[in-house]
Symmetry: C2
Subunit: 355 residues, 2 copies
C-alpha cells in the first residue's frame, strides 16, 4: 500500500497508527512516495530491494520489522514466543548481510524480549514496539551528536566530496556524513559538496543531491570516475563518507567505491573522514577482512533500474555492494562520543569506554 | 540515411559508392546500425554526438569529413578551393577538441592539398579522397603493429583492466588497447578482461563488452568504482588503456577515469600501459597541462542517453570528457614503432626518430 501525499518533514521511517511509514527510496528523486507497511513480508522486501537503506536506518528498520513479524503471534508462553521471535530475527537478518546496524537493531530487540521474559507475551509485544520507537528516537539524537563533533573538522569554504548517501535518507532525519555538512552549514560555514553518483544504484545522484538541494546545500554531481581529476585540480578539501560496518581495528566497510576514494585521498594528501554511530562498530571482527561483503544481482549493473539495458545480455558481471577501506587510509572516524584519530584499535576502545 | 543490414565484418568507417558508412555507436549494443553519410553536416553531428568516436578513428573520420565538405566545391582555382578547404577543416576541428588524431587527420589532408596545389581542383579532390582511404588503410596496419608490440608485455593468464573503448570501434578494425588483447589471445595466452563501464556514456559497458564478446575474449563488466577493490583483492595483473592525446613529455589525456585507474595501479603496484599510435602524440604540447579538456553536456550525467533521468533537474554537474595522467604513473606507452619505457620525453623522441 502506498500513498503519495506530501508530509511536512522528510522522515525515513516512522510508526503511524500501528503501521510503518517509509519513504520508497527507489522512486527518488522522481517521486517522494511513502509506503505504508503492515506486514513482515513487505518490509523484508523493502529492505532487500533497498526501498529503505543506509546503515543507521537499517537498525530501526530491522527493529520495526521484528514488531511486524511477531505482533500476530498466537504464542501464550514466552518460550514459544521466543522461538517465533528467533525465526523472525534470522529471516530479517538474511536480507542484507553487510550493514551491522541491522543486526545491532535485531539484537537489541531480542535482548529486550529476554530481559522481560517473565512478563506476559502481550506485554513483551508492547515493550518491543516501544523499543523500536526508542531506536528511532535515539538515532536522531546520535546523528546530531555526530554532526556537532564532525563540524569541528570543517573549515569555512571547504569543498567536500562524498559517496553514496549517508544523510537523512540513510538515518532517521539528519544523517551521519551529511549531518556533519548540515551542522557546518548551520554554523555559517560556506561549504560546497561534490556528490559521487555512486554506481550501480546511483544513491549519490538520486538521493544525496535530492536531500542536499532540499536542505539548500550547494551540491555538484559527478560521475564516480571524475573524483581523481577533481582532487588533482585542487577542487576537493575533504572527503566524508558513512560506514556500513567498522571492525575493531578501524577498517571500514562502506558502499563500493569508498576504498577507491580513500586511496585517491591518500595519494592527493586530502583528509578522509568516516562518520558513523557506535552501532556501526562490530567488535567481534578483528579486521575488515572478516566483514562479509554482499554480492548483489548483476542486473543492477547491466541495466538502469532493471529498465534500460546498458550492456549486452549475458555478459559476466561482478557486483559487490561494498568494499573495505583499511584504517590506515582513514584520517579519523567521527562518532557520537567524539572523534577517533587515528582510527585504530586503541583509540576506538578508548572512545567506546567513554561515559 | 541508415540501414540495418548485417555486414560480414565490423568496420567502424569505410567508403562505399562515394558514401561514408559508419557504425552508429550510440545504438550499440542494442542495435548494430550503419549510417550512410553523404554530407558534411551529418558527419559533423555524427562526430560531435559520438556516433563515431575513439581517437584513432577520429583521424579517419576527420579526413573523410573533409572529402564530404569540399567535394561539391565549385572553385576552379586552387586559392579559392583552399579557402573553402580551410573553412571546412576549421569547422570539423571544432567538433571534438581533445583527441589530437582528428587534427592530425585534418592536417594531413591540408598538406596533401598544398603539395598538389599546382594540379586542377578536380584532381586535388580525387587525391584527397585517396588520402582519406590511405589513412583508413594505414590505421589497420598501425593497430596490428601496436598489438604485436603490446602482446610482448602480456603473460598467459593475465587479468587485464581497461576503461572506455580502445578497440575495433575506436579505430578501423583492430584497436589499440584491445588490439593488444586480441593479439595476445591469438598467441594462445588465456587472458581475461575486466571492462570498466565508463560513465557517463558507458563506452565500456556498451562497446567494449560487445566487441570482446564478438571476438570471443572473456570479459567481466564492472562499475568504474569497483576497480580499486578488485586490485586490492589481487584480481588485476595489468591495466591497458588508449589515449586521446599524448604530450611531448609522455603525459596522456584519455577518457575521464583513466587518471583514477593510474593512481590506483600505482598504489597497488600494478603495471599501467597506454597503447596509442604516434598520430596521438602532440609534440607541440610540452606537458599534459597544455591539453584542452572537452567539457560535455550535463545531460550526459543527469540522464541515461537523454532518456531516463537519474538525478533531480537543475542540479549542478561537471562533465569533463577526459582527464590527464602524468607520465610518471605510466609504466610504458605502446606504439607502432615499439614500447616507450619509461614514458618520458627522451624515450618518446627516440621512438619517433626510429626508421
Amino acid at each position: 500500500m502506498a500513498y503519495t501525499g506530501r508530509l511536512r518533514k522528510v522522515k525515513t521511517i516512522s510508526w503511524q497508527n500501528n503501521k510503518l511509514i517509509i519513504i520508497d527510496q527507489t522512486r527518488l528523486p522522481g517521486q517522494l512516495r511513502y509506503l505504508c507497511i503492515d506486514n513482515l513480508k513487505t518490509m523484508f522486501m523493502a529492505i532487500k530491494e533497498m526501498k529503505i537503506r543506509g546503515a543507521p536506518a537499517l537498525a530501526a528498520a530491522g527493529a520495526c520489522a521484528v514488531v511486524l513479524g511477531i505482533r500476530k503471534s498466537k504464542a501464550k508462553k514466552y518460550l514459544d514466543f521466543k522461538k517465533e521471535l528467533d525465526k523472525v530475527v534470522a529471516h530479517i537478518g538474511s536480507s542484507r548481510p553487510t550493514a551491522v546496524n541491522l543486526f545491532w537493531g535485531l539484537e537489541r530487540m531480542v535482548k529486550q524480549a529476554q530481559y522481560n521474559s517473565n512478563k506476559p507475551v502481550k506485554k513483551i509485544k508492547e515493550i518491543l514496539l516501544k523499543e523500536s520507537k526508542a531506536i528511532i528516537q535515539e538515532d536522531s539524537l546520535i546523528c546530531r551528536k555526530i554532526a556537532r563533533e564532525g563540524a569541528r573538522l570543517i573549515k569555512k569554504g571547504d569543498n567536500i566530496l562524498t559517496i553514496c548517501n549517508a544523510g537523512i535518507l540513510a538515518t532517521i532525519d539528519y544523517g551521519t556524513a551529511l549531518g556533519v555538512i548540515y551542522e557546518s552549514k548551520k554554523q555559517g560555514k560556506n561549504i560546497r559538496v561534490f556528490a559521487c553518483e555512486t554506481r550501480p544504484l546511483l544513491q549519490g545522484a538520486r538521493l544525496t543531491t535530492w536531500e542536499l538541494k532540499k536542505m539548500r546545500v550547494k551540491v555538484t554531481l559527478i560521475c564516480d570516475n571524475m573524483a581523481a581529476s577533481l582532487m588533482e585540480n585542487k577542487k576537493i578539501d575533504k572527503v566524508i563518507t558513512g560506514a556500513d560496518r567498522v571492525a575493531a581495528n578501524g577498517d571500514v566497510a562502506n558502499k563500493i567505491g569508498t576504498y577507491n576514494m580513500a586511496v585517491l585521498a591518500k595519494f592527493h594528501n586530502i583528509p578522509f573522514y568516516v562518520a558513523a554511530p557506535l552501532s556501526s562498530f562490530d567488535f567481534k571482527l578483528k579486521t575488515g577482512k572478516d566483514i562479509p561483503i554482499e554480492q548483489r544481482d548483476k542486473k543492477e549493473v547491466l541495466s538502469l533500474f532493471f529498465k534500460q539495458p546498458i550492456a549486452p545480455k549475458n555478459v559476466n558481471v561482478i557486483n559487490p555492494a561494498f568494499d573495505i577501506t583499511p584504517h590506515n587510509l582513514i584520517t579519523a572516524i567521527i562518532t557520537e562520543k567524539g572523534i577517533v584519530r587515528p582510527a585504530d584499535k586503541a583509540n576506538i576502545k578508548r572512545i567506546v569506554n567513554l561515559k
